[in-house]
């Protein structure tokens, strides 16, 4: 290397290189020495031809070594400059990562839809079909077909909005079951979710419009044990494996035997708390075996086919599941509420 180091151009080049402080000045230095036309080193190389023949190899070698040194020094300088530049860029671009991110607005599903979809999912996996029907119903489908003739005391329990003598706002989604059974022979396994209406004044636990999911299974050999097993499977998926279901006898005109089902309190696991009023149980639904008169009415022989039915208040379960203390919040559409789901 000493061969090239003593070349006068090398000294000059080194001095020029020291004053380089940017990519621009580096490029100027490169041009000054290596430009094809006027580069000092290029010119020297071109001058080689004028030397006596015997001197040329040595001088050529020397100049080529010098050029390699120059190029490699330029390369090193370039890399350093780029790396410095990158460091400055990184410096410039350094942010406070604890500042909040840009706000991308995201909406939410209504809690009632969210829960309904979850419930539908469980029933779909258990082989139930989701069927919907009209909200405006006839007296026949809402009452008569379900063993609630005019004058029946049970009509008091479901105070009804009427549109006229024959049409009303359905008080439950059971009419969908009748409509389905009229069209199709068992086996049937269905749920009918939807909006229902009752003439209840608005308060923290009542609304004139709410949501129900009624389930029906009609097949050969269906009994109350299947009802219990299905409800257990359902509530364990919804509320957790440790959930228990208990039946108490009750009365609904469209089932016989009839039952009210309680689940073990999801807040205290049955030890007693404010929500379950210390009983360890929360009443969640009405259920029973499909009344044989109803089966006969839709053309099913009750000695061959039996079935269970139950109806769940989606809003009621939502109150429990999301620990909402006022039903009215579901229908006020306050974004401060909706964004929580």
């Amino acid at each position: 290397m000493s061969v090239a180091a003593d070349h006068p151009l090398w000294e000059r080049f080194q001095s020029d290189l020291r004053s380089v402080d940017s990519l621009g000045s580096l490029s100027e230095v490169r041009d000054k020495y290596l430009s094809r036309q006027r580069g000092l080193l290029t010119l020297e190389l071109k001058e080689l031809g004028r030397l006596p023949r015997e001197e040329r190899p040595a001088a050529g070698q020397r100049l080529n070594q010098l050029r390699q040194r120059v190029e490699s020094a330029l390369g090193e300088r370039l890399e350093r400059l780029q790396s410095d530049e990158r460091s400055r860029k990184i410096q410039r671009e350094t942010v406070d990562v604890t500042m909040p991110g840009h706000h991308w607005p995201l909406g939410t599903l209504h809690p009632l839809r969210r829960l309904q979809e979850e419930m539908e999912g469980i029933f779909l996996r258990m082989g139930f079909e989701v069927v919907t029907g009209p909200e405006i119903e006839t007296d026949y489908y809402n009452f008569e077909a379900l063993n609630i003739p005019r004058g029946h005391p049970a009509r008091d329990d479901q105070d009804t909005f009427y549109l006229n003598d024959s049409l009303l706002l359905r008080t439950h989604t059971s009419p969908v079951q009748i409509r389905t059974l009229e069209k199709r022979q068992p086996p049937v396994r269905m749920i009918s979710p939807g909006r229902v209406f009752r003439r209840d004044a608005v308060d923290a636990t009542h609304s004139p419009m709410f949501h129900q999911m009624e389930a029906l299974a009609v097949d050969e050999g269906i009994g109350m044990g299947h009802l219990k097993g299905t409800l257990e499977a359902f509530f364990r998926q919804l509320f957790g494996e440790g959930t228990h279901v208990r039946f108490r006898p009750s009365f609904f005109p469209f089932v016989e035997p009839g039952a009210e089902a309680d689940v073990s309190c999801i807040f205290c696991s049955g030890s007693g708390c404010r929500i379950c009023k210390g009983t360890g149980w929360i009443e969640v639904l009405g259920a029973g075996m499909v009344h044989p008169e109803i089966l006969k009415r839709v053309g099913c022989d009750p000695d061959r086919w039996t079935g269970f039915a139950f109806g769940i208040g989606i809003d009621r379960i939502a109150l429990l599941r999301y620990q909402v203390d006022d039903l009215r919040l579901f229908f006020e559409n306050d974004i401060r509420f909706l964004r929580q789901f």
Partner: protein, 677 residues
């Protein structure tokens, strides 16, 4: 009731009653006794008294039920000569049985403390010894009785008949009641003296000077009492029981029980025999109960002895015993038992529902979601992703609230019996409710509101009294900032094209081609509203809320609305995507600007370009609009980008220039545009 069973704690009793179907709402304990508040279902009127509840407990404890003393009090036949009385039932369908007895020599006074206290503990106000005795019988055995002042009964007779036109009666509560011809009245020789099964009349009411009473113990048909009580807006202890079904075999027994108590408390004696008019005796009912049915319905086997024992304790009589079934006579007080499965329930209740083993039914076919589920999920996913919250509104409205938002002649269906003056009809549109939600959110300080609802609207069709149609719709509303103001960016309010873009994204997801055409609707900004069509079908409308309505809403930013019918959206199958090969050759863009009349809608420009059918032209987009001092006021400068591509090869510059040239030429020819350099 007197329950003598050692070790029976109240809490255990309450739990058991609930598990028998008699829900205990509360237990009020005192030193000497405990009052259980039971919620009795409508089918069990037999449990609206102590005897009935005791019977249930006797079946649970498998103990013998102690019957009350139903024997008739002593009576001297000679006395009857001085106290004639007769009963005529003219309406046997409505009153299948009417029993009565005359008691004389009574002194009406306060009841003894034991009776007063007992009634008070049970929520009854003590009146006098006669009324209290009938109330005692009511609570004890569940049968309503009524005492008339015998001296005030014209002709000393009772006629049970329907009311005649124009008849009325002042009832014990002091109200004058006009009777209609379907109502059953208890009359004397001339006029009504009581509303059958509901309430007595004031004129024949017993008073402190009454010496002789006629005590009524009847059975009335439930439907008749229910109709009359409802029509008169009355509900009494008596009507409550009769309309659910009293025990048709109880009248004479209850009469005996009450007579005996009255003689004891008021010092009288019976001066008439038991008058028992029984024009329509009850037909005893007998049911077959198959053991196989019990096993099938309950899902468990119950031993024959258990079945017989339970039924026996509940008062069912086993008529014949077969190997596989029993013939069971239903007691008169069990009005709820009419079919075999009712007996299965009795067995189940008393064996205990908690002993029914859980089983999981074999699935007969796979589950199937609602056919519109995927559409609804797609809509929710797009709108949620774009920042819209899902809303649910109660579907009631009032025509005034909807007036400004009617788009057609849809008539909102009125509710015959609305709950309030503000919710008298069913909605025909989702918009007013969504705007109300905007208003409420603004009120709470939420200024950026994006909501949508998938819900039904309703309209009358055909005969205004007959048909009502319902339709699923999507309503969308947005106001406030599109970009939220933030430390790194300026805020931007939502504008028409943001909102239109939301709908375009939605329909792209639903794979539906939609068109927007200018329209005018009374509630929308006349310059920024459009009808939405898919194919030839009208889908709905979209636009900015009319500035006047925006002012009324006191909303600081423009409000954008859309309402879309989902009938045709739901009717289309959401087609599965089919893969199209990716472009292998680069596309080439060509931008150019031209000055054009402001009034020429972009859709016209686009269709003019489309008519050229330039094969390789893939897309036409607006990338800039300029309007300003360099241009006459009626002109704008539009910069559009043409994108050319060919699936087979790279296009040459010449081909692209030729295509672009044709577009420019067509626009010049059609609209007289001048291209700007």
């Amino acid at each position: 009731m007197d329950l003598q069973e050692p070790g029976l704690e109240n809490s255990r009793l309450a739990k058991r009653l609930s598990m028998l179907g008699l829900a205990v709402d509360g237990v009020e304990e005192s030193d000497s006794d405990a009052v259980f508040d039971l919620d009795v279902t409508t089918n069990r009127p037999d449990c609206l008294n102590h005897l009935g509840v005791a019977r249930e407990l006797s079946a649970w404890l498998r103990l013998k039920l102690k019957q009350p003393d139903f024997s008739a009090p002593a009576f001297e036949a000679l006395d009857a000569i001085d106290f004639p009385a007769s009963v005529t039932v003219e309406a046997p369908e409505l009153c299948p049985r009417y029993a009565a007895r005359v008691i004389s020599g009574i002194a009406v006074s306060e009841s003894p403390p034991w009776l007063r206290e007992r009634l008070e503990r049970l929520g009854h106000r003590p009146i006098n010894n006669i009324v209290d005795a009938t109330n005692f019988a009511l609570l004890h055995v569940g049968h309503p009785l009524h005492a008339f002042d015998y001296e005030k009964l014209e002709g000393r007779r009772i006629v049970v008949r329907t009311a005649r036109p124009g008849e009325s009666i002042r009832t014990l509560d002091g109200q004058m009641r006009r009777l209609s011809s379907e109502m059953l009245a208890i009359c004397d020789a001339g006029r009504p003296v009581a509303l059958a099964g509901i309430m007595g009349g004031e004129e024949s009411e017993i008073s402190t000077v009454s010496r002789t009473i006629l005590l009524e113990s009847a059975y009335f048909s439930p439907a008749s009492i229910r109709r009359a009580a409802k029509a008169l807006g009355m509900r009494t202890e008596a009507s409550y029981r009769f309309e659910r079904g009293a025990d048709p075999e109880m009248p004479v027994q209850a009469l005996n029980l009450a007579s005996r108590l009255i003689c004891e408390l008021a010092g009288g004696r019976c001066v008439s025999p038991v008058i028992d008019e029984h024009p329509l005796p009850r037909r005893p009912s007998e049911l077959e109960l198959r053991f196989e049915r019990i096993r099938r319905i309950l899902g468990m086997d119950v031993g024959r002895e258990d079945v017989e024992d339970i039924l026996d304790h509940l008062g069912f009589r086993i008529q014949t015993k077969q190997e596989k079934s029993l013939a069971v006579a239903v007691p008169s007080y069990r009005v709820d038992v009419g079919i075999e499965d009712d007996l299965v329930e009795e067995v189940g209740r008393h064996v205990g529902y908690d002993r029914i083993p859980s089983a999981y039914p074999q699935a007969s076919r796979p589950g199937r979601p609602d056919p519109t589920m995927r559409h609804q999920q797609a809509i929710c996913a797009v709108l949620n992703g774009l920042g819209f919250y899902e809303a649910i509104q109660v579907a009631f409205t009032q025509p005034d609230r909807e007036q400004a938002f009617r788009t057609g002649t849809d008539d909102s269906p009125p509710i015959a019996n609305p709950l309030s003056e503000t919710d008298t009809h069913l909605r025909t549109t989702l918009i007013p409710g969504l705007l109300e939600a905007v208003r409420r959110n603004l009120h709470h300080g939420t200024k950026d509101v994006r909501l949508f609802e998938i819900g039904k609207v309703y309209r009358r069709i055909g005969d205004p009294l007959e048909g009502v149609a319902e339709e699923n719709r999507l309503g969308v509303v947005a106001t406030g900032q599109f970009h939220h103001s933030y430390w790194d960016s300026a805020k931007t309010d939502f504008h028409f094209f943001h909102f239109k873009g939301v709908l375009e994204a939605l329909f792209a997801r639903l794979k539906m081609q939609v068109d927007f055409a200018r329209c005018e609707l009374p509630f929308l900004h006349p310059g920024a509203s459009a009808l939405l069509t898919g194919g030839k079908e009208a889908l709905g409308s979209v636009g900015e809320l009319h500035p006047l309505l925006q002012e009324q809403l006191k909303c600081p930013s423009p409000v954008f609305l859309a309402e879309i019918s989902l009938s045709s959206v739901f009717a289309r199958r959401l087609a599965e995507p089919v893969y199209r090969p990716l472009d292998r050759f680069p596309s080439i863009d060509r931008d150019f600007s031209f000055v054009i009349d402001k009034n020429i809608e972009f859709s016209k420009i686009r269709s003019a370009v489309q008519t050229l059918k330039i094969e390789d032209l893939q897309d036409l987009r607006v990338i800039d609009i300029y309007q300003g001092s360099h241009l006459p006021p009626e002109k704008i400068s539009l910069t559009v980008r043409l994108t050319f591509a060919n699936p087979e090869r790279t296009l040459t510059q010449q081909e692209v220039s030729d295509g672009a040239g044709r577009v420019v030429e067509e626009l010049r020819r059609e609209f007289g545009v001048e291209q700007r350099s």
